[in-house]
Subunit: 616 residues, 2 copies
């Protein structure tokens, strides 16, 4: 029944041979790889405002730093994009931070990059879903109590879709991404026209919440620390920029060139739109309080004179691209964790594709952790943002640092220029990572900063463990298995059909010695068992041991130890009869047998044989 | 490490032979068996007031019905005690409701009685602990937010004490029970003296909470429905009365006579104290609001002129006897569930004594469910009371009905009088059970009313299942195990030391045929495996099957099915090499082997052999 349900929800299995690569044209590749990066225009400006209005308490002074911050973010974008163009040309088979740092910097830096990216992907899901739901709530006016349930519904739907194996089909991505970009460009153009030609003033108080009006009246001073913190929030706009460099092989030929050009187009769209939204905000002054909707929605409502068609289209576009962005992480997280698992730093389960060719364990893990974050942070995007940027910039830094080493080692044509570009990239992004963690430490940046080293330690330990096991299991030259089984012990509770079957089976193994062992709790039980033994005329020796403390494991182990002393080339075979009923009632049986089997597994030179006795 | 921790907290094992019976004198038996019943005087009056003041909204009219209700409860007590005296004489070896109804009414009624009692015991823990913590909060003035944490601490301490195996030592019980009774009698006498001799008036408004003052000003009318509901709350005073009849064998000789007399003494104490507290309440008028402390505390504070020594002694006594009452359930619940488990209606695990001679599973289950109730009902005794009385009176009813049948069947001397007494008892308590469930249905009485049938259904199904298994495993006359193993299949992933060991082991079983089976995902893997096979010169046949859907189970099963068709007297032995590492890293290995083993267990005529390969 579970199987049929699974088939209905997840779909029928897909053969390994059906795995194929689809080559993407630039027009399609752009939305596929850029949705994550471009989607951040929906919240990055807003998050700068959250810091200035709600944490710095500067009231109308908040509007001054917006355009400068946006310009610095755009310069940063240019640096990062220039840097990643180098990566694309150097790694035409796909160069994520993990691979680049593994090849150039060594294991530990690659694990740092890997952990940073995994953290980043998890937060991409949480942040994007929270942002998408916020857009819907802004449009519909649903209260904050709806945030968590709606976010979780989105996560569940995406998880099911991805367990089915969502093809990264161009059509799916192209629609919403281009739709959002078009709606955003229309909004920006409308805004610029109305501001600079029609000279409309800021959003009137009548459209603001009471909380926002209060925020507008504050008159604190603006220090460097708060400016850095606001900048750190704006820097999340760069998340997802590295996606293109991961996906180079998916481009049509010439892959590297097409990918590099797509990256530039993406950067232009991202930069322009982010700057555009920031210019609108600095003029329209969408004051906000803690529980208000997003600023984009407020500006759209104002510019389009109410919640009409254009407003709704903008909000729906915002929701759609943010969900797509979250969905990108659903492809990236399982893929990266499977690469790390294949390298032996994560449990092998993450490397196994499910029957729909999807790394199902990775999908489920991602969904689980992202849901927990959503619940803990109450589905509040502004609370999640401080956790976000650190992983993003750690990934950038290690990737660029790896490229620096790459240039030094390979010395390809024009390597000095490339090295300079990557060095600037690495330094800048490293600096930003530092700024993020310092300026937002208590707001939540401490979480990834503490988590990433822990993850690296775990990955490293797992890697060492698998190496150790592999070495230890390697076959030495001329190795022959030495021990054989001569002694079979059949564990007996009371005599029933199962016990007779197990004894029959044990005898057919033709051992040198065979003995039935029973742990009894009192003399009465012992007597009854011997009686039954005679009654059924069982042809093997019965040995009983008493267990004054009602234990099973200890008496069995002492008996086995005694046997062990008799000969040193023996593997003792312990035969356990197990009653097997329907799955639904199996929990009523064999609890002690299970515990005993688990313990026997660790006993040297001992093999456990379960002889099932089927009741039905 | 877990073992040492367990030893430290729980203590070293106790041998079965050390189980002993302590015979109790009446002086000691009274506190041991009566603490549960007598402890209800600490809250029963109060719970009547909760209904009248906070649910019926009748203000000062609340004081009229208190003494009449208390008198009716006392009459009920006389009926129940008279009835249970019959049980004690009829079942000198201990006659709980479960046993009496099993012997006289049959399986289903006994399961109803058993479920009622188990529910009753769980609620005894929740209600008594909540009441005890309320007494402490009343004395110290700690707010309601402390209720749940303090209750849970009490539950944890009692659970640990009972896992160690608390002897029902007289000293432990005698102290607090007699102390409480003495303190209560002093309070009642002081109260009566001050009311009827010194003519003190009701508690002044200055001592009441605002909420209580508001409650006092209401002027609603008092209907029959609310009176019945108030009576249902008062009827909880009878919980625990049946404890003596369970414990007859623990009394000194003549057991039945001593037990019957102890029961009467207990009833006199319980009745007198309950009536006494009710008389005080009807004169002193301890008005209360939802979140106030208990009425007993308020009256003690008033009568003793403040929170002095006598007040504290009364409250500590109240706390102590309520905790003792909860502890009674810690002995009763596991004992009853072990009896039911031995009869085959509960999983066998409940029948196993832990290494301290305690039915540990029962203790843990009780603690878990009681804690959940405390958390769900926010540690509020008044919220728990409506759930309580139904189970108590169902137990009474079935026990008395069983006695009626007993008299009809056995016709012992003076059986007609006894029958009449028990018939009155059964009818009355049955009626009360009905009143409780109707008058408190929406307040929570629906929970036991719905739960008990569900429990009966589950118990019955478990019973049927065990019966079925027992029958099915019975050895038919002349039964001989027919099938033997001729065919051994060794499952192979890649070649390592473990696989060679497993093959060596498999060969030592001297089967007719032996084959290595490997599930491969692609031709490359297949080629490599065959190469290794040649390289290590492995002397058994290698069979590879491809798994286009990356499954393991299905290809293995189809292969086994093919073999099965070759001969019909064979048990196929499947040998699985398993890497065994330290416990802490074992989760990184053999996940697929585990899943496969679980599935193979259900395959007919298949035996699974785990050959462990120890890495360290």
């Amino acid at each position: 029944m579970f199987q049929s349900l699974k088939r209905l929800v997840i779909g029928r299995p897909i053969a390994t041979a059906d795995e194929g690569h689809q080559r993407l044209s630039k027009k399609i590749a752009l939305p596929v790889f850029a949705s994550d990066a471009i989607s951040s225009t929906a919240y990055a400006t807003d998050e700068i405002l959250v810091v200035l209005l709600l944490q710095a308490y500067v009231g109308k002074k908040a509007w001054g730093p917006i355009i400068p911050i946006a310009i610095i973010v755009c310069i940063l974008l240019v640096i990062v994009v220039a840097s990643y163009r180098q990566t694309i040309h150097a790694y035409p088979s796909g160069g994520g931070s993990y691979i680049v740092s593994k090849e150039n910097l060594g294991t530990i830096p690659s694990l740092v990059a890997g952990s940073s990216l995994l953290v980043d992907y998890i937060l991409t899901v949480s942040v994007s879903v929270a942002g998408g739901v916020l857009a819907i709530r802004t449009a519909t006016g649903l209260g904050h109590e709806w945030a968590v349930p709606l976010c979780l519904i989105c996560v569940v739907v995406m998880t099911l879709a991805n367990l089915r194996g969502l093809k990264e089909s161009g059509a799916l991505f192209a629609g919403p991404t281009y739709f959002y970009v078009v709606m955003l460009v229309i909004l920006i153009c409308t805004g610029l026209y109305r501001i600079f030609v029609q000279h409309v003033g800021p959003i009137p108080e009548s459209m603001l919440s009471e909380e926002a009006i209060e925020a507008s009246k504050l008159t604190g001073g603006l220090g460097l620390y708060m400016l850095l913190r606001a900048f750190s929030s704006g820097a999340v706009a760069l998340s997802g920029v590295e996606a293109v460099s991961n996906g180079v092989p998916a481009f049509k030929k010439p892959e590297a060139k097409n990918a590099a050009n797509t990256l530039v187009v993406m950067a232009v769209i991202l930069g322009t739109c982010f700057l555009g939204v920031s210019i609108l905000a600095s003029h329209l002054k969408p004051y906000r309080g803690e529980s208000d909707g997003n600023g984009l929605g407020l500006m759209a409502e104002y510019l389009y004179n109410g919640k009409g068609f254009m407003f709704w289209a903008t909000m729906i576009g915002t929701f759609a691209i943010l969900i797509l962005a979250a969905n990108t992480a659903y492809a990236d997280f399982p893929r990266l964790s499977s690469i790390i698992a294949k390298d032996g730093f994560l449990p092998h389960q993450f490397a196994n594709r499910g029957d729909r060719l999807v790394f199902s364990n990775g999908v489920l893990f991602l969904a689980g952790v992202a849901s927990i974050l959503i619940i803990v942070f109450n589905g509040d995007i502004s609370a999640l943002i401080p956790l976000y940027a650190f992983g993003v910039f750690m990934g950038f830094t290690l990737s660029q640092a790896g490229m620096v080493m790459h240039h030094i080692k390979l010395k390809e044509p024009r390597w000095k220029l490339s090295l300079a570009i990557n060095a600037v990239g690495a330094t800048t992004t490293g600096l930003i990572a530092g700024i993020v963690v310092v300026s937002k430490f208590t707001e939540g940046a401490w979480i990834p900063a503490a988590l990433i080293p822990v993850m690296v330690f775990i990955f490293y330990s797992i890697g060492k463990h698998y190496q150790h096991v592999k070495k230890s299991l390697a076959v030495p030259v001329g190795y022959k298995a030495q021990r054989h089984t001569h002694y079979v012990v059949v564990l007996v509770g009371k005599v029933n059909r199962g016990v007779l079957d197990a004894i029959g089976y044990a005898r057919s193994l033709s051992p040198e010695r065979i003995i039935a062992l029973s742990v009894v709790q009192d003399p009465e039980e012992e007597r009854r068992l011997h009686e039954q033994w005679d009654e059924y005329d069982i042809p093997i020796e019965l040995h009983t041991v008493s267990s004054p403390y009602r234990e099973l494991t200890r008496p069995v182990f002492s008996f086995l130890d005694e046997i062990d002393q008799e000969r040193d080339d023996d593997i003792i075979t312990v035969v356990i009869p197990e009653s097997v009923t329907k799955v639904s009632s199996q929990w009523l049986h064999n609890q002690s047998a299970l515990a005993l089997k688990a313990r026997l597994l660790y006993r040297p030179h001992t093999v456990v044989v379960s002889v099932p006795v089927h009741v039905d």
